[in-house]
Subunit: 215 residues, 2 copies
């Protein structure tokens, strides 16, 4: 019963916060989230790493509906170094995609392009290790391009369409304006601006910050 009550309280709080974000988004203010390095796996690569009977065990939900962090942790192995304790994000995808920062790429000794999620044409591969198992991916390694997840109501209020490019100002400790930022409008989204840890560190970002779209 307490478990059900906790879940209800959490669901109400989440819905209230989403409403607050929606109201602010309609005026151009978006909460910023910094994404750490992570892996999206295809079913085939997940089976190769975890065995045929694997499941991506849920650890916590992410802000974008349906996306979750799994309990599994893996290593990325490049010619110059390793990154340990890399998270898996579920659910599985058609193609394995590995997202790292430029700093991570330097540690690994690889040179992936900065790309939109899903745009994996002509990207390098990387070794993913889980204990004694590993896969050498055929491509899929990218530096994720920063982007703004936007619900259709916010897009309509701001006069923006899917694929538009905007500037986004962050009045943080080291204030800066990201330019040429892609807007991704979807009914299946929550209003958030996503950056990686190089961008977060460069800005002096801390959790909970909002920034402003300047067209």
């Amino acid at each position: 019963m307490n478990g059900q009550l906790d879940a209800l309280v959490e669901a109400v709080a989440d819905a209230v916060l989403a409403e607050v974000r929606a109201g602010l988004a309609a005026q151009g203010w978006f909460q910023v989230e910094a994404s750490g390095r992570h892996v999206h796996l295809s079913v085939a690569d997940a089976k190769a790493l975890f065995g045929d009977d694997y499941a991506l065990n849920w650890a916590k939900y992410l802000s974008q509906p349906g996306q979750f962090v799994g309990q599994q942790r893996m290593a990325l192995v490049g010619p110059a170094g390793r990154l340990e304790q890399v998270v898996v994000i579920g659910p599985e995808r058609a193609q394995t995609q590995i997202e790292v920062s430029r700093t991570d790429a330097t540690v690994l000794g690889v040179d992936p392009p900065c790309r939109d999620s899903g745009n994996l044409y002509n990207t390098p591969g990387i070794r993913i290790e889980n204990g004694n198992a590993h896969v050498d991916t055929q491509g899929g390694l990218i530096i994720a391009e920063r982007h703004i997840h936007m619900r259709p109501e916010a897009a309509a209020a701001l006069g923006l369409a899917d694929g538009d490019r905007v500037s986004f100002a962050l009045d943080s400790l080291r204030p800066l304006t990201f330019r040429d930022v892609k807007v991704r409008v979807s009914e299946n989204a929550d209003n958030f601006m996503h950056i990686d840890y190089d961008e977060a560190n460069a800005a002096g970002f801390s959790n909970g910050m909002f920034g402003l779209i300047c067209k």
Copy 2:
């Protein structure tokens, strides 16, 4: 004789490039340099690390006149981790100053403020190791605040004074505008914009890039 000729050729090339930078700077364009983690040592700390008869052996000059990279390499040691192969920048200073990025600070497990060089009041210390020798500094650890080194002629042409704050736009792979950037005007400077590697990686910076001051 060949050594003298090489030195002459290099000096002429440097002077020509400085003239090119001066002409561009007068129009607001500054070449950008990314600074990696490094240490400036006091004489007392240098003696503690290298012995009483030490010298900071010259390895190469930096863009700011008189500053040079030494041949020595040291380690920084924090509660969460170590950074190896950290360079020393000469000449010695009145107080030891250690400059790291936010990413480095996370590796070390420390939380230094983002500060102007030389502004070391109430900053944390860090352990600097050289083989079996080490010093635990009394403060001096900072994340270097980005800044623009500017000669007086460029400042006059742009209507700027020492300490002014400007925005600086970089049309790089991940274009962005650094705001609230401090201008440092000095006769003993060459015209350069300095950022750290978090900022360089966030921008998709590569060597040789120029950016533009927008007031």
